[in-house]
Structures are given as C-alpha cells and as structure tokens.
Subunit: 342 residues, 2 copies
Amino acid sequence: MGVVNRQLTLAHRPDGLVRPEDFALVEAPVPEPAEGEAVVRTEYLSIDPTVRTWISEARSYFPPVAIGEPVRCPGAGRVVASAVDAFAVGDPVYTLTGWQDYAVVRDDGFATRLPDDMALTAALGVLGNNGITAYVGMLDIGRPQEGETVVVSAAAGATGSVAGQLAKRAGARVVGIAGRPDKCAWVVDELGFDACVDHRAPDFVERLRAATPQRVDVYFDNVGGPVLDAVLKRLAGHARVVLCGAIAVYNAEHKPPGPANYLELITQRATMTGFNTFDHWDRFGEITDQLAGWLADGSLRSREHVLDGLERAPEALNMLFTGDNLGKLLVRVADDQSRPVA
Amino acid sequence: MGVVNRQLTLAHRPDGLVRPEDFALVEAPVPEPAEGEAVVRTEYLSIDPTVRTWISEARSYFPPVAIGEPVRCPGAGRVVASAVDAFAVGDPVYTLTGWQDYAVVRDDGFATRLPDDMALTAALGVLGNNGITAYVGMLDIGRPQEGETVVVSAAAGATGSVAGQLAKRAGARVVGIAGRPDKCAWVVDELGFDACVDHRAPDFVERLRAATPQRVDVYFDNVGGPVLDAVLKRLAGHARVVLCGAIAVYNAEHKPPGPANYLELITQRATMTGFNTFDHWDRFGEITDQLAGWLADGSLRSREHVLDGLERAPEALNMLFTGDNLGKLLVRVADDQSRPVA
C-alpha cells in the first residue's frame, strides 16, 4: 500500500476532445477507512462515453463533476483496508473509483463485491455494464427474431460487439457498422457478424443499402449523428430502434441537430426506445451468469484494449471519440498481482 | 347532374405554401361508369396535411401526383350513376375523390359506402380518418393512465382535438398546444382540456413547463419541429411519444433538422412510436361506432371549418400550414341536398 493517492482532478470543463491541461495530477494522502468504510486500491478504470458527459454540464443521473474533484469513473480493484463488515481486505470490488489510486467505499449499493473467479477487466466490460447493456438493449428491447436483419453501430466497441453476438445467437442476420477496416474485419472474422460497413467510407450509404437487402428490423444505436439518419432510411416495417448512446453527440461543442429522418418511424410504423441498464439491476446476476457461461464455452468473445498508467486516462477517453480503440477500453492503474482467469 | 367535371390539376410541383399558379382549373366531361364502376358527385373534400405530401416528391404509400393529374384528396359524396352492384344511385360514399366534381369508383376497397345516418362531414373527420387516428394513436399507443399528464400538439386541429378528449376520458390531465389564443380558448372552454399553451408565445417553453408540473407521460405529436424538441425536454420517466405527423416539416423547402433533444428518450427510458391508421382497418367499424356514440351523447365534440367552392381547395390547404383553420378543414364542392344529422 503506497503512501500517496494520485488523483486526476478536473481543472477546466473541456470543449470537444479533452486536453492535458483540462486535468491536474494531484497527490493526496491515502485515505484511512472511517467506521462503515473500506478503502479500495484501483487496479483498472473503465473508460466509457458516460465519463465524458459527467465532466460536461449535461443533465445526468449524477451532478456534473466539479472543478477540483477527481474525475468520476467506474473502476475495479481490491480492498486494502476495511472498517465495514461487507468488505474484507483482498475482496475484489466494482465501484466508481474515479481517476485515482485509492477510493473510499461504503456498503451503500455504489460498491459491488465481485465473484472471486471473475477477472476485474471482464467485470468492467463483457460481464459488467457493457455486457448487461447489450443484453437488455438487444434482447429485451430490440427482440431480434430468427431471420430478421439487425444493425449495430460501434460494432467493435465494448457494448456493440456483445450486442451483435447476442443477435446472431437469436438467429438474426447481423450487420455491423464500425469506423476502420481492421475493426470491420474483426467483427466479421472473429465475432461472426454477417457483414460490417465502414461508416468512414465515402460510399457508406450505398454500402449500408447493399448490406441490408431486406432492410433493417432492429437497429442498436451507439453513435447517433449521420449514421443514425442513414439507418433510419433503411428501416423495415415495425422496426425497433434501440437507443443505447450517441458517441457522435456527447463530445460536440454545440448540440448537433437530431435525426432529420425520424419521420421514417411513421412511414415504417417503427419505434425508437431509450433504456437505462440500472432499471434492470435485479436481473444483473442472472444476466452475467448467462454471459459468463457463453464466454467460458467460447461462444461469446470479447477483446480488451488496455492503456497503462493513471496519467493516460485523458488520452484513453479521447480514443472513444476518435475511434482509436478496438474493444473494451481500460486503463491499468496498478499492477494486478492476483488476476484470476476469466 | 352537371355536364362538366371541373378538375383542379397539378400544374407545378410547389415549394412551401402552394400558389394559385401551381394548379390549373380544367373542364372535362362528366365520366360515364363502365361495367364495374360508379360515378360519385363530390360534395366535400377533406383538407389534410397528407395532401401536401402527395403533391411533393416525398416517399409515401402512393406515388406523387403527376403534373396534369387532379390533386389526390379524400372526399365524400353521393353516387349519381352506377354500373356495379356495390353502389346504388344515392349511396353516400367516402373515397379519394380528388379535387374534382365527379370521381369514378370501383368495388376495390378504395371506396367505402357510408352509413345513411352519418353526416358526410363527420365521415371525413371525427368519424373518419381523424377520429380513428386519434383513437389508435392515443389509446393503443399512448395508453394514458388515470392521473398522467398528456400533451397534444395541434390541439385545435381535427385529430388533436379528438386525441385530447380521449385522453381526458381516460382520466389524464390534458394540456394542449395550439397556435392562437382563440384556439387555446376553444380547447379549454369547449373541449375540457386542463390547459393549453400557445406555441407562438415568446415564452412558450416556460409556459409549457408551468403547465406540466408533473412532466409529460404521453405526447401526441402532430407538428414536429421546435415544439417536439420542447416537449422532449419535459418528458417523464417511461414516457410515450406518439408520432402522428409533423406539419412543421411537410411544407419545408429543405428538410429541417430532426429533434435535437431525442436523447431525452434515453435519459427518461422513453419511447417514440410511429403508426399508420390503416394497419387497424379491421377495427374501423368498432372504433367509429364508439366515437359516434360519444358524439351523439355530447361527450365528444368536434368543429368544422368549411370553405365553399372547389376553387378554394389550394387556399384551404395553405391554412393547415399557416394555422388559419380552427377544427376540421373541409371544402364544400357541391350543395349537400340531403345532409343527414350526425
């Protein structure tokens, strides 16, 4: 256990991509647990689009991160000191660690003791929020049927890659949308998608049309923007658009226009639905058990993209928006001495 | 029976509001029914936003009206000559009469023999497409519950006025949005809405907020544009947005931006659904019977705005977009000699 708690705090509220000077690296004492608290050593940070919204002034489930506060961020680590029954030293924990070496947790629902046999990195991705989001969004809301056409954007991302594989499992024809040829190749060759269209190609709209000859029954949208508009034009009758996120929107300095083609929802008697994974928290255990089984038997695949060092968290955050990651984006904050096998 | 069939044909494809020179008044012979046909004398035209989309090049259930063709338009009248068993001389009929004095119909599903005791004007509005659209959209898709807050735009229009009254009947608090103080007054004083907000008021957004202290559970949208964006910002958790139409969009020369606030659907776990009344044709009889009963007992009210003369159809069409109508907009093409009481 170190003697210093390094923290990356918010120095300026950023516009667009973050800059190094938007954050300050400060050193605080390692916290001591008060009665009812435990202290967690952060091992991995989960770099998610939500983190970008939390450092903006956008309305959210949480207030915006204040100037001078450590950046709010999900993470996982192990308990190094405890004054609460719920957590023993050595326990693996998922919580909002923030961008810092040590975090204080309580037995209040914001910290979850993880199973001993679950890799911390999986707990932050395929067996955590990303996997559960993909499951709820695709299976509960999208409800793909055998033979239907499903399109998933950010298909090589942590959530999209799982969502598409779940649609394949349901018997659908699955078309990914991703932003680089190697991402498209991974999605088709490794994950088994039927096709993948590069949204940076100049003829993206024509390629999307060619890849969806029966039009689109389910669209799982992670990006918003022009990609959403293009898919709206391809909807089939009674299509379901699942709104998972809008990475093309979160980072914009000015609020971009909405989907101009939304009236296709009328023409196609279609529906567009937003959801929040946390509304389904009572099913988290059941869902992650199922996902863990498929991961173990090799029928569900995931990939992690790990950057080393707390100080690289801002760089990692930008990669989500520039599209420079492939798979679940993580920052390793501390050596993981006892990493179990997924 | 006259000797001339006056027709208003499409001369130019209009941009924005129509101009007189976009149409030509031509005189054709009154058609004779061939075997399997009947001829209907047009008495009333139903002036609907759809007519504007039919004379544009927009994708629709029908091909665009061609230059030189009579403008496609729903209407009602009586049979004046028949060579088909389904229609006898004198029968009241609803069909796509078009903007002309006489229309040829067949027994093909595009013409409906109306009940003898139904006013032709009601058959075109509250007991026709508008009433059925309001019923399906509000009750099947919006599903307002007792005590919920329902907002209806174009609340003084043919569909919105019925939709709001149906929500009141379901026990909801109903807030209209309309474009003139006298429309708002009619909606509250005559139709029993709880409130109505004028979207032309400079402080519309604040007024809407004040009128929806419990936020918005169901939004029945007829207009799109900035009004839709404003209501999206007021959605309650698990809200249902029913997309009925987008009068603010149909007339635009360039496609306007979509609803920039659509991500509120995620924040509020809400849904936005389009529908088409014709998908529910098997229930038309049941629905209009119910509406007719409420109309007869005075618990459902409607109002008609009638312009006299076929040549006023273009002027009437523009009124939908300038907001100069109050209630169901109709053009009377011929004297209605035998109009029954609704």
